[in-house]
């Protein structure tokens, strides 16, 4: 146990191996929950006006009358062969759809996390430094307001109230559709940078601001509150006084010496928040018509697209695991006393 690169690799490797049983359990629970709650999905898949023959054909074709256990083992064996199933209505394979939509969600998630870090953490520092005076109360009002606002309300207010005032587009439909041949990453910002297309970059950022801001503003409270409370713990410590006594200005004392130690707890919280942001992302993508996996999850659930829902669950699980892994690694980077084990 130590802090060498080998120790870190072993640590990450162990976590990745542990992910396999977690994923297996997750797929099992989602599969049975989905199939137990819907008796005959074919009634939805073929539509209300279909003839009984069509329904019978659908049942026959998808095998939904087979025992659930058979369907489950069939799904798993397909999954191991790289076949994630098909959308029963459109007939397209699920995996390619998710692979094109997932980067857009990651882009939105990273943008929201970025805003939470660059706005939330300094606000926490300002609040802690003010320690009970008016800036502290103002910051608290701001983040508690966001924290108490449900996403469907906050996002709608931003979309129809603030967006038009600032001249920002309030939907994810891009005005200048990128050249499909150049969609390397399916992240609009990254693609436009790779294409060296400034017009598309500006457009992509403009489209990203409102959905990212609605995720960030409603959730940055957790970063602010965590930063504020750990800063309040750190500020009276002797090493902060040592930093002051060197003659460092308040800025360096706060943002270098105190914040570096406060960030340890903030990073841990942000890691778990990244996972819980995914549930908000479903709502926000639906409101802003963001072409991501969250909107796809919403549509899949409504249309009993089991393969699609399970695919989304797997990808969400990957995000949660990776986010926690990144926060654990950052924890060790920030605190030199941590050993990888």
């Amino acid at each position: 146990m130590g802090r060498s690169k080998v120790d870190l690799a072993i640590f990450v490797g162990k976590r990745v191996v542990w992910f396999v049983p977690v994923l297996f359990g997750l797929i099992t629970i989602t599969f049975f929950a989905g199939h137990a709650s819907v008796r005959n999905p074919c009634a939805v898949w073929v539509g209300p006006h279909a003839s009984p023959d069509t329904v019978r054909n659908c049942i026959e074709y998808f095998g939904v009358n087979r025992p659930v256990w058979d369907q489950y083992t069939g799904y798993l064996s397909n999954l191991f062969q790289g076949n994630w199933g098909k959308d029963p209505q459109g007939g397209q394979p699920v995996l390619p759809i998710i692979l094109t939509l997932f980067p857009a969600t990651i882009e939105l998630l990273l943008a929201a996390l970025f805003l939470m870090v660059v706005l939330g953490i300094p606000l926490g520092v300002i609040a802690a430094n003010a320690g009970g005076r008016w800036p502290d109360h103002l910051v608290r009002l701001f983040y508690l307001g966001g924290w108490a606002t449900p996403a469907y309300l906050g996002a709608v207010v931003l979309a129809i109230g603030i967006g038009p005032v600032l001249g920002l587009p309030n939907s994810g439909d891009f005005s200048s559709t990128p050249d499909p041949g150049w969609q390397l990453t399916h992240m609009s910002i990254l693609d436009s940078i790779l294409r060296l297309d400034t017009g598309a970059l500006v457009d992509a950022i403009a489209h990203l601001i409102l959905p990212a801001a609605s995720l960030a503003l409603l959730n940055l409270g957790i970063a602010t509150r965590m930063t504020r409370s750990s800063m309040l713990e750190v500020l009276p410590l002797d090493y902060v006084k040592t930093a002051r006594m060197k003659g460092l200005s308040d800025f360096w004392v706060l943002y270098k010496h105190a914040l570096r130690n406060s960030l340890i707890s903030t990073v841990t919280v942000l890691g778990t928040t990244a996972g819980s942001l995914l549930s908000w992302i479903v709502v926000v993508e639906e409101i802003f018509l963001w072409p991501g996996i969250g909107k796809y999850a919403f549509d899949s659930i409504l249309s009993y697209n089991f393969a699609g829902t399970l695919g989304v669950v797997v990808f969400f699980a990957i995000v949660v695991v990776v986010a926690n892994l990144v926060s654990d690694v950052l924890y060790g980077v920030l605190d030199p006393r941590v050993e990888w084990r």
Binding site: L237, Y239, T242, K246, G247, L248, H257, R260, N261
Partner: protein, 349 residues
């Protein structure tokens, strides 16, 4: 405090020693702390009239500090090199004129109490731009800063400073950390060094080593030191003058040998009598009756009168006795005590 002299501050826990030390560079958080009256005259300027955000100019290069707990006084997240070089860089920036430096008021006469507007003292040091012909970043490349840092580690007698420099504080012992704290404070060449119980948290052998080191360094660097301790023996060893604190105030001040030989305040006398003496192993250890009063509810008059064996009716009403020259002390010895009967006390054997 005269330049180059070591002034000891001694007193019981809770008597306000650390508060005194930290209030000089205005390190106490305001609020809740508040300096209600008086002045903090440093090199001819009243530090209280400097806006708080400008205080960093005074800290480091003018007033340095060593704290009590070496475990907490180094930042756990940064290597020794980062923390030490930071201090070295601040001094270099200030010496080269790239950052503001606090300068003493010119021709300040320490014998007279004549505070000067600090705006004058700080404003005068605003160098308009880099002096002509000076290379930018002269002496501040990372190798040069590292070399400087190594020099200060050697100054505090650290073996193998190259290795130590790249370690984190948690990889070092308490004594080693305190040496690094001392190196850090000295690397800024402060005019005044406040040592707030620098050895109290160390075990006894390390304590002796650090004290010996500090004593040696006192001869090498020309710095005035305010040495705060609850240990009378350490004060006797280290200090030239001593101030004895009781309930938030200095009750006696004077050259350490004279004060400890013939105390002029009953509290000092009681404190000295309660030091365990291995040559007198008979009978119980003498101690002061009663305990330190709650600072929020001080007794009227002399704060020591409820515990004092010399107390008489005049000691009770407000205001209590002020710190005044002791009558009957040897001429020119600059002894002061806050007691109406100091003349009587000092004559006792």
């Amino acid at each position: 405090m005269a330049p180059g002299r070591v002034v000891g501050i001694v007193g019981e826990t809770g008597s306000g020693k650390s508060t005194l030390g930290q209030s000089i560079p205005r390190l106490l958080p305001e609020p809740p702390a508040r300096i209600r009256q008086g002045r903090i005259v440093f090199q001819g300027s009243d530090l209280l009239s400097i806006p708080k955000w400008k205080m960093p100019i005074v800290r480091g290069t003018s007033i340095g500090m060593i704290f009590q707990e070496p475990i907490n006084s180094l930042n756990p997240a940064f290597r020794v090199s980062d923390q030490l070089i930071e201090a070295v860089r601040i001094r270099k920036l200030r010496e080269s004129g790239e950052a503001e430096l606090f300068r003493p008021t010119e021709g300040f006469d320490y014998s007279k109490d004549r505070p000067v507007d600090p705006k004058e003292a700080i404003g005068r040091t605003f160098l308009p731009s880099a002096p002509e012909g000076r290379r930018p970043r002269a002496g501040r490349t990372s190798e040069e800063l590292r070399k400087d840092a190594l020099e200060y580690l050697r100054l505090v007698r650290i073996n193998d400073p190259e290795t130590i420099l790249d370690l984190y504080p948690h990889e070092l012992s308490g004594g080693m950390r305190q040496r690094i704290m001392i190196a850090m404070a000295l690397s800024e060449k402060p005019t005044l060094l406040i040592a707030d119980e620098p050895t109290s948290a160390l075990d006894i052998t390390i304590q002796a080593q650090v004290l010996t080191l500090m004593k040696e360094l006192m001869d090498e660097v020309n710095t005035s030191i305010l040495f705060i301790s609850h240990d009378l023996g350490v004060i006797a060893e280290m200090a030239d003058d001593v101030g004895v604190m009781y309930a938030g105030g200095i009750v006696e001040f004077g050259p350490v040998a004279e004060v400890f030989e013939r105390p002029a305040h009953p509290y000092t006398k009681g404190l000295l009598e309660s030091v365990p003496n291995r040559y007198k192993a008979d009978g119980p250890l003498p101690s002061l009756p009663g305990s330190v009063p709650n600072l929020a509810r001080l007794p009227s008059g002399c704060p020591f009168h409820p515990r004092c064996v010399f107390a008489r009716p005049p000691c009770e009403p407000d205001p209590g006795p002020a710190l005044e020259p002791v009558k009957g002390a040897p001429a020119g010895s600059n002894r002061r005590a806050a007691c109406y009967y100091s003349e009587e006390v000092v004559r006792l054997k």
